[in-house]
Subunit: 612 residues, 2 copies
């Protein structure tokens, strides 16, 4: 019996996610009735490439077998497991126990010789057949001479033979389970979101490009832009989400479409398509990838409103429904009708928009509100894009209920905004990231953001610098993928608009001149340090190795991450950050695989001190 | 989207276990992108009977939907879930929120009227079509009059309509997952095992039948007999597992087969087949069911050794392999060869043995060492028996690794001996029974035994009476199924043979005269009290409702069970029982569904006192 255990999503209904360069551990339960020994291997198959076969190892005193593999190439794959009875190992196990009990007799030895003979009879051809036959003859001869001790001690021969049984004996084979292997950036990334139009003097993409060296110096590898397309006039929001805008107010970049074009156009104030491509090139020169926001919704002035009214939802009076989540009403946005009679043309148009931006150099998309569109649409769109460009990465911005977020991850999103933004206390963070590691990691990569243009979280409202520092450390080290909305975050903007989560003078509705703004603190240096540590330590580039350790002050979080090549990073963070706290830490040596009496040398990456 | 959650075994590869009379809770995750309202129902189908349809209810603020059903009939079934978009509820939800936000307008009302009209157009026939059309006309009329408040308040109409959408709209339907519904005794049972040959004066079945009233008075409902077939002479074990037996020693009942017959014969010292049937009848009169041990292995004197040597495993010298688990060697037993060339005849013969005992009135079998035989054999045997006699119950005696025990449960065993016997401390018991409840309860019913003829557990060795009492309370209340091997247990036999788990003067190898034995204590009264409480309290007849509560002394276990009809039992047990302990208990009111400020009246079932 062999059952797939991990990585497995809904019994194979959806692909499990692997990452190039990141060791993947395959686990199966394999067992048989009685005391027969078995052999197990993991087989990974590809479309146009030979399958990879990995011998699996059994965990001590359990039926869990595992093998580790490091993917090297982006694309689809599948894995399955094969298990077979191993009569030689069965004989060897039983005979060893009988010898230990003092009851091994000449019939046991004759049994072993007979098994050798029988195997030798069946090993006729294959790449190493003659070598194996010679070995079998040697073992057979030893047994005929009664030299059982040497035979029982020869584990290497048993391993050689086990591989052979997989080819000559009937084996249990599982059905195969799909995998999707993404490139490294899907597995670990550091995102910086900013509004180009806030960058002086003109707020154009070329002005904004001058920010790229600063962002790269802070150690980020992804620079994420809100939508760069034209913004509608009708229903345009004013500063601080006012229902009407004064002349000259720029409106929300998410109200896409105006007289200069729709989703595939560039806002004239930002420049043109050439400027955008130039921005992407300049980013690349600085070591940054551009992530673009795709918001599939339209302002009342979008060309599609006239060209394709059937793509929108009509109300009883013939007007189009606006986006809303009462009491929030978005008068400047009409949602699209994904399940209308013209759904095929609409879906095709949205794929074309996506491919247009791919052609302009974008390989990462941040998808706005995917949970308000059908799961089937995303499954189709992502598959279509990947068929042409398997290196494209999709981040799901769905702040909603767990099952819906998880389904979006299952249908193909590479990364997902998670709940970090609202997990404040040490206990909340422990529970959340334990759940992420244990329950959803086969299909969901969480990207942790302490803030977004929409969310000045409760903890950051009116908060001092040290709270921003603590949140930066937590996001950057708890999660292999993190991001900040800046300069609001690194400049510690803590001013809310009213009682909700909105920022005062939110950049969603107005440009902000951060350059001249001296009211704010600046934690850029810490952010740079964190990103450097993340880059230097492979341990921080995975989420699977996260272990929480006990601290006798419950508000202090202590956790570690490890890489397969032995890199170990230990984090200690005062989650409340409201006052100085002391606590004794009890490392979980067993989970770390370290002997408790081992002499540990700890290097403090922030202070540069070394402790023993 | 709708996904089955519970009860579900390996994505539907094996049937989930339900019990007649025991409420079964079906759970699914159902959700949709966007804010469309949905309806969900659970459908249970049978072979020759109309399907049962249960409307599912959504858990507050989550996507988990559930419905509860109480099975009434033994046999196979299957369940699936159906989900559909509910445009009426979608309109009602949005309109209620818009009214609350003060933006509900006449177009919203017109939208609602249009939805009514559209539904009415499609409701043409069906059992309640005209009634529903009348309702739709009424609601439509109210909306045309602008009377939206009454319409939004009318939840009952929404529920009626939701049921209709399941029939007129396209719906998501899951694949169906199998169920096996067993009779009540599979779900809760109290077993008493004893050796008939120890009962004076003659050690026959008719002598043993005189014990039945005593066993019934102790409140048990299953009386379990070790094998009653002839015992071999060759290799027969003597007292205390001696390699040779003196003349007159009876041998182990598990060394089946001699010159008077094999698995279908009755040992002449016990009586004949008529005596066995009479024993079954007398048990039934006393309110007891007989469980018989099926041990599929043969003594060297079994008739099959001569008739079917191909059913046994030959060694190199032509002798038959004996059963062994070195250093334990069972010279009096030959295992059967389940995968030999004559496997079909062997399997058939073992089915015939089983059916023969069914014909003699046995409806419960305790299967000896099922883990040393192929899983496929048990899957086949149990299915064959159930096809003819769906009321037969199988208990798996596999004390082995978790995955193997779990597989046996999956292929059909109704009950399984669990690890209770070796879970001693409060922490071990908490961890074990939490795992039983959360991970394996869909397919495995644990039967908890403090002792067996093979196992005088470490905790009971040389233990005082109070340890036996604590173990009885724990087994009888932690698990809906429990059993004891008596009189050894209720007489507190604590004398080991050597350093292992064997009893001194084990009844496996000799008869014991318990009647004259005055060295021992007697906790029969407590056992009787426990079984009475188990019978009176439906709360103790399930394992799903187990909740552990906190006690500040870690050695004190506090836990509760509840029934769906409101019966609640709270247990407090000093798991160590080595000294008197005090501790403050913190009830998990939330898990119990009780308001913390509620005035609780507690009746102590053991002392008869009442506390507030």
């Amino acid at each position: 019996m062999v059952d797939l255990v991990h990585p497995l999503v809904d019994a194979g209904a959806f692909p499990a996610k692997l990452t190039v360069g990141e060791p993947a551990r395959f686990e199966v339960d394999a067992y048989t009735a009685g005391s027969d020994a078995i052999g197990v291997q993991i087989e990974i198959s590809f479309d146009q490439q030979d399958a990879i076969v990995l011998p699996a190892q059994r965990r001590f005193d359990d039926d869990r077998w595992s093998a580790t593999w490091i993917p090297a190439q982006v694309g689809p794959a599948a894995w399955r497991a094969r298990a077979w009875l191993d009569p030689w190992q069965t004989w060897r196990n039983l005979s060893s126990r009988r010898r230990h009990a003092g009851v091994l007799d000449h019939i046991d030895i004759a049994d072993g010789a007979e098994i050798c003979r029988e195997i030798r009879r069946r090993v006729r051809n294959g790449p190493h057949a003659s070598e194996l036959r010679a070995q079998l003859s040697r073992i057979h001869g030893l047994l005929l001479l009664g030299d059982v001790d040497d035979v029982l001690a020869d584990g290497q021969f048993g391993e050689q033979l086990s591989g052979w049984f997989s080819t000559i004996r009937q084996a249990s084979l599982t059905t195969s389970a799909p995998l999707w292997i993404a490139r490294e950036r899907a597995g670990h990334s550091s995102w910086y979101e900013f509004f180009p139009r806030s960058v002086g003097p003109g707020g154009s993409l070329m002005d904004a490009a001058r920010e790229l060296p600063r962002i790269a110096e802070m150690g980020f590898d992804v620079v994420y832009l809100p939508p760069v397309s034209p913004i509608g006039f009708t229903g345009r929001k004013g500063a601080n989400n006012a229902l009407t805008s004064a002349p000259g107010e720029p409106g929300s970049p998410w109200a896409i479409g105006g007289d200069t074009g729709g989703h595939d156009a560039v806002h004239p104030d930002l420049g043109d398509v050439h400027d955008f491509v130039e921005f992407v090139n300049r980013a690349e020169e600085a070591g940054l990838e551009v992530a673009l926001d795709l918001a599939f919704q339209c302002s009342p002035d979008h060309p599609w409103i006239q060209q394709h009214p059937e793509w929108f939802m009509a109300r009883a009076d013939g007007s189009f429904r606006t986006a809303e989540n009462p009491p929030k009403i978005y008068e400047d946005i009409h949602p699209l009708r994904f399940d209308g009679p013209a759904w095929q043309e609409l879906w095709r148009a949205l794929l074309d928009v996506t491919l247009t931006w791919v052609e302009r150099g974008v390989r990462i998309f941040r998808i706005d509100n995917p949970h308000t569109k059908p799961f089937d649409f995303w499954e189709w769109l992502i598959a279509e894009v990947r068929q042409r460009h398997p290196d494209v990465i999709f981040l799901s911005e769905a702040f909603t209920r767990p099952r819906v977020m998880e389904r979006l991850a299952k249908v193909g999103f590479d990364q997902s905004y998670g709940y970090f933004t609202w997990r404040r206390s040490a206990n909340e963070l422990r529970a959340y990231f334990t759940d992420v590691r244990d329950r959803t990691s086969d299909f969901m990569r969480v990207n942790a953001w302490p803030n977004t243009p929409d969310i000045l979280s409760e903890q950051l409202r009116h908060a001092p610098r040290r709270v921003f520092e603590a949140r930066a450390v937590l996001a950057a080290t708890l999660s292999a993928n993190w991001g900040i909305y800046g300069p609001a975050f690194e400049r510690c903007d803590n001013r809310p608009s009213g009682s909700g989560e909105e920022y005062l003078d939110s950049e969603k509705y107005q440009a902000r001149n951060w350059g001249d703004d001296v009211r704010h603190d600046d934690i850029s240096e810490l952010v740079e340090r964190l990103n450097t540590i993340r880059r230097d330590h492979r341990a921080l580039q995975n989420d699977a190795s996260l272990i929480f350790h006990h601290c006798d002050d419950d508000n202090i979080l202590c956790y570690s991450k490890q890489s397969i090549d032995g890199d170990l990073v230990l984090m200690v963070v005062n989650a409340e950050a409201d006052q100085i706290r002391w606590g004794e830490i009890h490392l979980d040596y067993r989970a770390l695989g370290i002997r408790p009496e081992a002499d540990l040398e700890l290097y403090d990456e922030l202070s540069g001190e070394t402790f023993r």
